[in-house]
C-alpha cells in the first residue's frame, strides 16, 4: 500500500446558528461531524452523497478555505488544521481545487492568460521563459489553443471554461487536487471529455485526486476508492469494485438502486429500493445512526447507539449495525480510527 498524502482524522465543521440582536448561538449545523479518511498517493478518492451531506464542506476544509471546528488534517506530514495563512501559502502550491461552476469561478474581467498566470504571480514563481510561455504550455496540456491567451472567459463554451479552471489548478504542478463536482455543470458529451482529460492528466503528472460528486456513475468511473457520506458522516468507504458490487450500508444500496439505468429492457425486472422522505436537516440530525429514520432495516439499537465505522472486509469499512453483503464471519471487527 502506498503512503498517504492526506490524512483526515475526526474532522468537524459546525456552523453556528444565531438568533436575535446579540447573535446568541441557538444551535449548530453539523455539516461535517467527525469524519476520518486517508488519501493515498496517486489514487482517486471519490466522495459521494446527496445535497447537504457535507461533501463540499469537506473539500473546503481540506483546502482550508474554511476553518475546521475540530479534528486534524495532515498534508504530507504537516499538520495544517490550524496553520496560519502565511505558513499555509507555500503548501497551497501542492494542493489545488477545481470548482463546479466554470461560469462563476473565473473572473470575467481577466483574460485567460491573467487567470491561469495568477498562481505564478501570487506564489512569486519565476519561470524560465516567462509566465506567458508557462501559461501557454499549460493551456496546450488541457487541450486549449495557446493563442487564446488574450481572450476573456465569456468567449469560451462551458467545457472550455472548465478546462481553463483545470489549467489554473495545474499551473503550479500540484500533488493533490480537490475537484468539487468538476463535471456536473457540463453537457453530457462535454462531461466525458473532461473526465477523460482528468484521467490523462493524472497519468501524465502523477496527481492525486479527491473527487466530490453526486453522480454515482461518474464517481465509479474515475475513482479507485469511494467514500459515501450521509448527514456529515462517512457511512461507507471502500475500493470501488467492492463498494459498487457488494455495498454494505443500506444507504449505499439505496443510492445505487435509485440511479436510472439507461437500458429500457431493465425497466421492469430490476430490483429497486426506494427510500421514503428526504434527507433530515443537519441542524437537527437524528440521534445515533443518522440513517435510521429512512432505513428499512432499522431496529431499536439504531436509535440509541451510533454504529462505528468498522472494517468488515479488507479495505472496506461500513458504519452500520446490520450491514449487508458482509463476510459471514462475525468476529469483533476492528474499528477504523
Amino acid at each position: 500500500m502506498s503512503e498517504s498524502i492526506l490524512s483526515v482524522q475526526g474532522l468537524e465543521k459546525h456552523f453556528p446558528v444565531t438568533k436575535g440582536l446579540f447573535k446568541s448561538q441557538v444551535g449548530a449545523v453539523k455539516a461535517v461531524d467527525g469524519i476520518s479518511f486517508d488519501v493515498r498517493k496517486g489514487e482517486t478518492l471519490g466522495l459521494v452523497g446527496e445535497s447537504g451531506c457535507g461533501k463540499t464542506t469537506t473539500g473546503r476544509l481540506i483546502t482550508r478555505l474554511i476553518e475546521p471546528t475540530g479534528g486534524k488534517i495532515t498534508f504530507e506530514g504537516h499538520d495544517i488544521t490550524h496553520m496560519k495563512q502565511g505558513k499555509l501559502r507555500p503548501l497551497r502550491r501542492d494542493m489545488q481545487m477545481i470548482f463546479q461552476d466554470p461560469y462563476s469561478s473565473l473572473n470575467p474581467r481577466h483574460t485567460v492568460g491573467a487567470i491561469v498566470g495568477a498562481p505564478f504571480r501570487i506564489q512569486g514563481i519565476q519561470t524560465e521563459q516567462g509566465i506567458k510561455k508557462a501559461v501557454q504550455d499549460i493551456l496546450e496540456l488541457v487541450g486549449l489553443n495557446p493563442e487564446h491567451y488574450n481572450r476573456y472567459p465569456h468567449e469560451f463554451s462551458g467545457g472550455q471554461r472548465q478546462r481553463i479552471g483545470i489549467a489554473r489548478t495545474l499551473a503550479l504542478k500540484p500533488k493533490l487536487i480537490i475537484a468539487d463536482e468538476p463535471v456536473s455543470a457540463l453537457d453530457v458529451s462535454i462531461q466525458a471529455q473532461v473526465v477523460n482529460l482528468l484521467e490523462d492528466l493524472q497519468n501524465e503528472l502523477d496527481l492525486t485526486y479527491v473527487v466530490i460528486a453526486h453522480d454515482l456513475s461518474v464517481v465509479r468511473h474515475i475513482s479507485d476508492r469511494v467514500a459515501v457520506m450521509y448527514l456529515g458522516k462517512i457511512v461507507e468507504v471502500g475500493e470501488r469494485a467492492g463498494l459498487y458490487s457488494a455495498p454494505m450500508h443500506p444507504y449505499t444500496n439505496a443510492l445505487l438502486s435509485a440511479v436510472p439505468i439507461p437500458d429500457p429492457k431493465q425497466r421492469e425486472g430490476r430490483e429497486r429500493i426506494r427510500l421514503t422522505g428526504d434527507v433530515p436537516s443537519p441542524l437537527n440530525p437524528p440521534p445515533a445512526c443518522r440513517f435510521h429514520t429512512r432505513c428499512w432495516k432499522a431496529q431499536e439499537i439504531c436509535k440509541t447507539q451510533e454504529p462505528p465505522l468498522a472494517e468488515l472486509a479488507p479495505g472496506h469499512a461500513v458504519a452500520c449495525h446490520f450491514p449487508e453483503n458482509a463476510p459471514s464471519k462475525t468476529e469483533t471487527p476492528a474499528t477504523v480510527a
Partner: protein, 340 residues
Amino acid sequence: MTFLQLNDLKVHFPTDDGLVKSVDGLSFQLERGKTLGIVGESGSGKSVTSLSVLGLHKGGRAKISGEIWLDGEELVSASQEHVRSLRGKKMAMIFQDPLSAMHPYYTVGDQIIEAYRIHNAVSKKVAKKHAIDMLGRVGIPQPDRRVDSYPHEFSGGMRQRAMIAMALSCDPELLIADEPTTALDVTVQAQILDLMRDLQRDFNAALIIITHDLGVVAELSDDILVMYGGKCIEYGTAEDIFERPEHPYTWGLLGSMPRLDREVTERLLPIKGSPPSLINVPSGCAFHPRCAFEPRTGGKGSTLVPDLVETEGGHLVRCHLSREERRDIWATEIKPKLES
C-alpha cells in the same frame, strides 16, 4: 386521429446578432397514454419546443411557423385567449425548478386552488378539498396541513411533488415535464420518476419528458426523440435508440455516459468539440464538425442537410451515411467498445 401532432414546427428568434433558429422544422406525433422522451444538450431546442406547444412564447419575440395539432385543434394560429383556456386544463407543464415556478407569497394550496377555479366553477371550499386530495395523491404527508404551507417550507422533493399536483389538478390530457428531476437528489429523483409513471397510468395522459439524462428517458419513455441544433436527428422506440441507434450523435451520447450496469471502461468515448451556436449553425449536417464519420460521407456532410429518413418500422434517422454503413459501424466499431 393523433392526439398531439407537430408538423414542421419552426421557432426562430430575431436578435441583434442574427436569427436564432432554436427549433428548425420539427415534426412528431404522440398518442394518449404514451410517453415521449426528448433528449438533447443545452441549446438543442428541446425546451423551446415545449414552450411553443403550450403557447408560452411572446408573439413579438418569437417567429413561430408550422402546425401544432392538439386533439383536432391547431394551436399556432389559435388566439392567445383560446390557448390560455386550454393551458392548465387540457395541457400542463412541470418545470425544472419548482422554487422559481411557484409564487413565494402564496401558499401551495392557494396556487393549486387558483388554477383549479379558473377552469372549474366551484367554490373555494370545494377547490381546497380538491387541492388536499391532489397533494395526497402525489405523496405529500399530512396534505390537510401542508396545503397551507408556503413553497419555502417544502423540501426540494416535496416542492416538485406539489408542482406535479398543481399540474395534474385539472386532469390535463397532455403533460410536459421539462427536466423534472434535474434539480433533485438521486433518491428523490427515483421517487418522482415512480410517481410520474404511476400517475400517467392512472390519468392516461400523454406525457412529454424533456431531459439531458438518458437514464431518465430510458426509465419512462415509450418513444425517444434526439434533438441536435434545433432538429430531430433520430427518432424511435426506446429500444431502437438504446439497442440499435443509428445516428453518430446518439452513439456519442451513449459513449459519453459512464454506466452502473456495465463493467468500468478504461475511457469514455466522448464527442469532440461543443454543441453549436444556434446563430451560426454549421452548414450541411449541423453535427458534421463533431462527427467522426463525416469523412465517409464524401463531402456531403458540410454542404447538404440530410433528410430525416425512416430506416425501419418508424425508426427515423437524419444522416448522410447509408443504412448499411450505419448498421455496420454500430455493430463493428461502436457497440463492442461500449460493451467492452
